[in-house]
């Protein structure tokens, strides 16, 4: 979804009201309880929080010109990969086998067989329509952020088709946009 993404896609950016800021903070915290202790560093209450709107109902949460979270329509906020790399334990993990890496890198969605094969790992607790971090066999860091299409159990039992939508992956447009001025 960020395959082609650049500054030109930005349709508006606003510094939001404190009340909205509070709401965003709250929903991020609910989504990622692991972040609670660093919330103050990430989204300081005092410093302005900028919400960047882009086409296709996409919003980015930007602090100090660094994009930190994104969300689609009013779905859950998801961290950018750079942020996830810093705090790797905040999200549920899926792992794909080695063969899938190169497809993920070109933006493909995560197919079930890549998750159920010997190289893949599934977190059984994950339901459908949840954000997950996608890791890869033999690698330490996450390579994509996905949004599950079906629950982990379904992925295992159906084992066919798209299991996780690829939202944001390494070297896509959002990754390349380290700073947003």
């Amino acid at each position: 979804m960020f395959k082609k993404f650049s500054l030109e896609e930005v349709s508006s950016q606003n510094q939001v009201k404190t009340s909205v800021q509070r709401r965003i903070r709250q929903s991020i915290q609910d989504e990622y309880p692991g972040l609670e202790t660093v919330m103050e560093d990430l989204l300081p209450k005092k410093s302005p929080l900028i919400v960047v709107k882009c086409p296709n109902h996409l919003t980015l949460v930007v602090v100090n010109n660094v994009p930190l979270f994104f969300c689609i329509r009013d779905g859950p906020y998801m961290p950018t990969l750079r942020l996830l790399h810093q705090y790797p334990n905040i999200m549920k993990r899926f792992q794909v086998d080695r063969g899938a890496i190169k497809f993920v890198f070109s933006g493909a969605n995560i197919m079930c067989p890549g998750l159920t094969s010997p190289g893949g790992v599934l977190d059984e607790e994950v339901d459908a329509e949840r954000p997950v971090a996608i890791y890869a066999e033999g690698k330490q860091h996450a390579l994509a952020i996905g949004f599950t299409k079906m629950s982990a159990k379904d992925i295992k039992s159906i084992n066919k088709g798209i299991g996780v939508d690829n939202m944001h992956y390494l070297n896509d447009g959002l990754w390349k946009m380290e700073r947003l001025d």
Binding site: E8, H85, K102, F105, N171
Partner: protein
Amino acid sequence: MAEKLEPAKVLYCGVCSLPAEYCEFGPDFGRCKPWLVENAPDLYPDLLKEANEKAADNVSDKLQSLGISSGGADGAPSSSQSGGTSKKEEVKRLPGGKLKKKDRQEVIIEKVVRNKRKSITIVKGLELFGIKLSDASKKLGKKFATGASVVKGPTEKEQIDVQGDIIYDIVEFITDTWPDVPERSIFFIEDGKKVQAG
């Protein structure tokens, strides 16, 4: 969860910006290799071996050329050098499979409809021809008897917004007032496509 989480440090490749372990899947592994050998030697043990072999090769090559050079000192080294540079250029062109577009000198004119029947004409790129935007906006405003202002565009670039639809003779006006701007470098944007003016 009383303790504060420390941000983990991730080693990002200095060439392609990916985490170093993913360089092999990146767009341009070949160019990352030297960086990796230097900064993350333990991630790719094979690479290090390869690099060492290459270094050894180079040394032996040099030795050889030195041996020969007593005869044709000038010929051999210079030719090898030129070969090296051309190779470098080739590499530069390839990254990501796409060439980065240089800022070409062109004026782009776009019409944006504002309130159904009101529109704004946006002129971008005049500054590339060495034209002062504030002067230009004044002139445009005077000529078409409307408001014209210099506005910061989406990418921090400045552009001129002129109220009203003045597409019909803006091209003529631009070429008349600033002879530096050739007509063929003026483009309209119609339905998201670039169309040459005139």
